[in-house]
């Protein structure tokens, strides 16, 4: 018989409930009438006949409705509905209990859901490529370039001889930009990739095709794929876009395809136009032999099935040894082979922070669940009598357990709705208080994945705290109305409270360590005066600024314009600004001092440097310790001058005055220029807020082409720093008009130096804020949990306390009784918590700045705080125990 027919009959009964009931009773009425009529015919009096007919039918007429519903499979529904009604009535009767329970779970589920939405992209969601877990990034690393990279000179060799990968590919390591020079000129991001790039990543263009063999060779046709966004904005999804030409940097480029909507470059840089990386393969293959490195690449591969990262790393070892031959011997030791997952490459150090946040939010959830279970257990205990009664009236064990689960599910459903709301609010707050480009914040949304996560967590919770109260069988002795001592319950609850205390201590300790670390980060000496400084970062395009002279002229004109702007006191132009770690750097031993033997080579020893204009040190407030600052005259002089940081000066010239000494900065290069040291400046923070500070030197950028053409793509970006007493709200728009007056198409990033420093501290701030929040929630929940257990114990032992007092126990002795019980829980919980916290702080030591992972203050203050709060939570039930009136207590028996 068909399931469909059954379903139809079931649904009919559900949705036409009244009709079904009427039909059942009509049919039975007809039956009764017919039978009674037959009986009357047999000579039985009418009244008696009706009575007999009813008796013959067995169950009373009104029960037949239920019998019918059961027959059509509605028993489960009916019972569940009645359980739900019963549950709601129960919660309604005790609103304080219901609110506490739901608030607790809302906090727990809300916290973990919000964090899940923050860390999902970093930890769990697959990258937007098919089988992305098999994609890896590989190459060399060195202290100057900790992100792995490859050179054209060995890429083809690796690609030919490698074993562990299905395919290898590469993109240009240089992040490049280009200009669309048609009507409405705009500035675009245009990375270049090998022909093997899209197939290796498993990306199919939504329109058109990948590059062909001719197109990624030198002198091939100029073609490009465009991004989905550009297709939308510029061409309105016109399918005729293929074979159209774009004017890019003055060249005609034919569009051969459109990238899919969610496409991301493996290094996450923006992409508007994707060019073929035109490489002369033959030249690259021979480059190594000639001592040349070839172009810089970022290389990627797709692992063969069954090959692990470790295995791949091992198999690439011999190829790496061969590659080392092309590296100059004096720096060979600095280079290492790196094979890591693409996810690691993309997420960098955020992953640890993400795990910390996720772990902390799960701890809060556990604490909340333990509280909820504790509350339900306590209520279960006070409902023993009711359950025993129901059991005596014929409710099966299964029925009672189901009732408990229905109630738990009811609570979970309400909580999960509230939690999604709470999560939404929390995310809004986070987004509002952080810059949107903060990597963890940028991807935090309440989406289907996040909501399903919340629901699955709620299901698990339901299982957890629904099972606990259900495990005990109601005993008929409970009918007598005495409160039973149920040891198993009490032990379970006490275990849970100790666990809560332990987890809370871990959260508290981490929170305090992070707060202290963050304070150190904020209050450290940066070596610069960042107040009132506004910066404008400008990258000049190849098309409009082809020569070093034109770049130089642009910044000179801009400097002239802003010099007399609102409230401007100082202006400087440099290629980068501290304390960000994004500056150029060189190896320490490549500094050459005349008449001295070459500097000792220490792997990983690097020196930062910047190209600056004469006002740089003054604008940033970096004091000159010896010699003099760069002057405007030196800018047009033929001599190259240099200022050393104090740290570098004392390393190079420990015993002598460096002023007037000469230094060569690119020592292996025989044509390297000679510089004269004219001053020594104070140290500044230059490795990020938490990074290691490097020795540093400043080069004056003179009005000469060679000073503007030294670092390839780097030299196209400059930062103009202005100290202005005008408010940024006035100054920033004004500055924008000044840049636009020189070149309206030029993209410019304007921000205050303060805000870029704050952005550097964004991740620690996020981490500190959230972990502190979780610790506070945990503390409150643990206190509530402890209070609940003790209050219950006191109620349970009221009689006993009454007897003790009647026999002469003093109030103090009763207080001690409760405190003794409480202290045992607190001491156990804190001891375990202390061990866990100690382990956690050591694992997370690299996230700490200026605080030791076994920071004494933390490991004293936090247990003290926790114990203090716990004793406070003990005090209330203890006091009510001490106030027990022996007469009342004894009479209640």
């Amino acid at each position: 018989m068909s399931i469909l027919a059954r379903l139809r009959s079931t649904l009919r009964t559900v949705f036409r409930r009244n009709q079904a009931a009427t039909e059942v009773s009509d049919e039975l009425q007809f039956h009764l009438d017919s039978y009674a009529a037959d009986l009357v015919e047999q000579g039985i009096p009418e009244g008696e006949a009706r009575r007999l007919a009813r008796v013959a039918l067995g169950s009373p007429l009104r029960n037949y409705g239920e019998i019918h519903r059961r027959a059509v499979g509605l028993q489960l529904l009916d019972e569940t509905l009645s359980d739900v009604r019963y549950g709601i009535r129960g919660l309604w009767r005790n609103p304080l209990f219901a609110i506490t329970l739901i608030a607790t779970l809302t906090l727990g589920i809300g916290a973990t859901t919000a964090i899940f939405s923050v860390v999902d992209r970093v930890l769990f969601r697959p990258l937007p490529y098919p089988q992305s877990e098999r994609l890896i990034s590989l190459g060399l690393t060195q202290p100057l370039e900790p992100q792995e990279f490859a050179f054209g000179a060995f890429f083809y060799d690796w690609s030919d001889r490698q074993q562990p990968f299905l395919a290898m590919t590469a993109e240009s390591a240089v992040t490049s930009s280009c200009d669309l020079t048609e009507n409405n000129p705009i500035h675009l991001s245009c990375p270049a990739v090998l022909r093997s790039f899209l197939p290796t990543f498993g990306i199919q263009p939504v329109l058109g095709r990948n590059f062909s063999v001719e197109e990624d060779r030198p002198h091939g046709p100029r073609v490009a794929l465009i991004s989905y966004g550009l297709w939308q904005d510029r061409f309105g999804f016109d399918r005729g876009v293929l074979d159209r030409t774009l004017q890019i940097d003055g060249n005609s480029v034919r569009i051969i395809g459109v990238l899919p909507a969610g496409f991301k470059m493996p290094r996450l840089q923006p992409v508007d136009v994707l060019f073929p990386l035109v490489l002369d393969e033959a030249a690259m293959r021979q480059a190594g032999a000639k001592g040349d490195t070839g172009v810089a690449l970022s290389a990627f591969g797709r692992l063969k099935p069954g090959i692990s990262l470790k295995e791949a790393q091992r198999q690439m070892g011999p190829l790496f040894s061969d590659t080392q031959k092309i590296i100059p011997p004096e720096i060979r030791k600095d280079f290492h082979l790196c094979v890591r997952s693409l996810r690691d490459r993309q997420m960098q150090d955020i992953r640890l922070t993400a795990w910390v946040l996720f772990g902390c939010s799960l701890s809060v959830l556990l604490i909340a669940c333990a509280n909820a279970a504790g509350l339900l257990l306590a209520r279960g205990a006070s409902r023993q009598r009711e359950l025993a009664l129901r059991s005596a009236l014929g409710a099966s064990r299964f029925r009672l357990v189901r009732q408990a689960f229905t109630e738990a599910a009811l609570i979970s459903i309400v909580s999960v709705c509230a939690a999604c709301l709470a999560c939404f609010v929390l995310l809004r707050l986070l987004v509002a208080s952080f810059r949107i480009d903060q990597p963890l914040i940028a991807d935090a949304h309440l989406n289907v994945r996040v909501i399903s996560y919340a629901i699955s967590i709620a299901l698990l919770c339901t299982l957890f705290f629904g099972t606990l109260p259900a495990v005990e069988r109601p005993r008929s002795i409970a009918l007598s109305g005495r409160l039973l001592k149920t040891n198993s319950r009490a032990v379970l609850r006490q275990l849970m409270v100790s666990g809560q205390i332990a987890f809370t201590l871990v959260l508290l300790a981490l929170a305090m360590l992070f707060v202290r670390s963050f304070k150190n980060l904020q209050h450290q000496r940066l070596g610069i005066d960042s107040g009132q400084i506004v910066t404008a970062t400008i990258t000049l395009g190849h098309k409009s600024f082809p020569s070093p002279q034109s770049q130089m002229a642009f910044f000179e004109r801009l400097e002239q314009r802003v010099r007399f702007g609102p409230g401007v006191t100082m202006v400087s132009v440099s290629d980068s600004l501290p304390p960000s770690p994004n500056h150029t750097a060189t190896r320490f031993f490549s500094l050459g001092l005349p008449g001295r033997r070459p500097l000792e080579e220490v792997p990983g020893d690097i020196v930062a440097y910047r190209w600056v204009s004469p006002g740089y040190l003054k604008t940033l407030g970096i004091p000159i310790l010896a010699g003099h600052d760069f002057t405007s005259e030196e800018r047009s002089s033929s001599e190259s001058v240099l200022i050393l940081s104090h740290r570098l000066a004392s390393r190079l010239y420990p015993k002598q005055n460096p002023i007037g000494e000469r230094i060569q900065v690119d020592r292996p290069d025989p044509k390297g220029r000679w510089y004269t040291v004219v001053g020594v400046a104070d140290n500044v923070k230059n490795g990020g807020l938490a990074g290691k500070d490097e020795p540093e030197y400043y080069r004056l950028r003179r009005d000469r082409p060679e000073d503007w053409d030294s670092a390839g793509a780097w030299s196209r970006t400059s930062v103009v720093a202005m100290r202005s007493i005008a408010a940024p709200s006035i100054f920033v728009p004004w500055l924008r008009t000044q840049v636009a007056a020189l070149d309206p198409t030029l993209p410019v990033e304007i921000e205050t130096l303060q805000s870029s420093i704050e952005a550097l501290a964004g991740q620690p701030r996020l981490q500190t804020m959230l972990v502190s929040l979780f610790a506070a929630i945990g503390l409150i929940l643990a206190a509530i949990g402890l209070y609940g257990v003790l209050a219950y114990l006191v109620t349970e032992r009221t009689q006993e306390i009454g007897i003790r007092m009647a026999l002469g126990a003093s109030r103090n002795q009763v207080l001690r009784l409760v405190f003794k019980r409480s202290l045992r829980l607190i001491v156990w919980g804190s001891s375990i918590g202390l061990i866990l916290a100690f382990g956690a702080s050591h694992v997370l030591a690299i996230l700490l700045f200026g605080v030791s992972p076994d920071d004494l203050a933390t490991f004293v203050a936090m247990p003290v705080l926790l114990i203090g709060v716990s004793l406070l939570a003990t005090f209330i039930p203890a006091r009510s125990a001490a106030r027990v009136d022996p007469m009342v207590a004894l009479r209640s028996e």
Partner: protein, 123 residues
């Protein structure tokens, strides 16, 4: 009453299907028909009839339709559906073979062992 025969739960369905297979019947008429077919030797407990009818209807074996009764009142008449026909045939087949086997067992004389077993023993 001596004519009462206990009706096994499974056979009740079979009897109802048989009764209904002869033409549309309302609930009370199903009782009367079974009594009549049994030669007054079997009476169905009224309390068990309707739950059985509900289950059969829910299972799609019989279909209930409201229509006028002999004395012109509204009554629910049950007919056998196609699925009911198939089920009835199958149940009947099962019942008959079971009855035959049990009848054989009960009717067997104290005879020598079956030929097969004897053959094996001889071997």
């Amino acid at each position: 009453m001596g004519k009462d025969v206990d009706v096994l739960q499974g056979t009740l369905n079979l009897l109802i299907l048989k009764a209904v297979s002869l033409g549309p019947l309302h609930g009370y008429a199903v009782l009367l028909r079974i009594r009549q077919l049994s030669g007054d030797r079997m009476e169905i407990q009224q309390g068990t009839l309707y739950p059985a009818l509900y289950r059969l209807e829910h299972g799609g074996l019989i279909r209930g339709k409201w229509g006028p009764s002999d004395n012109n009142r509204k009554a629910k008449f049950y007919t056998l559906t196609a699925a009911g026909h198939r089920q009835f045939a199958a149940e009947r087949q099962k019942w008959e073979s079971l009855a035959e086997v049990i009848g054989n067992i009960l009717g067997a004389e104290n005879s020598p062992a079956t030929p097969a077993l004897t053959a094996e023993e001889n071997a």
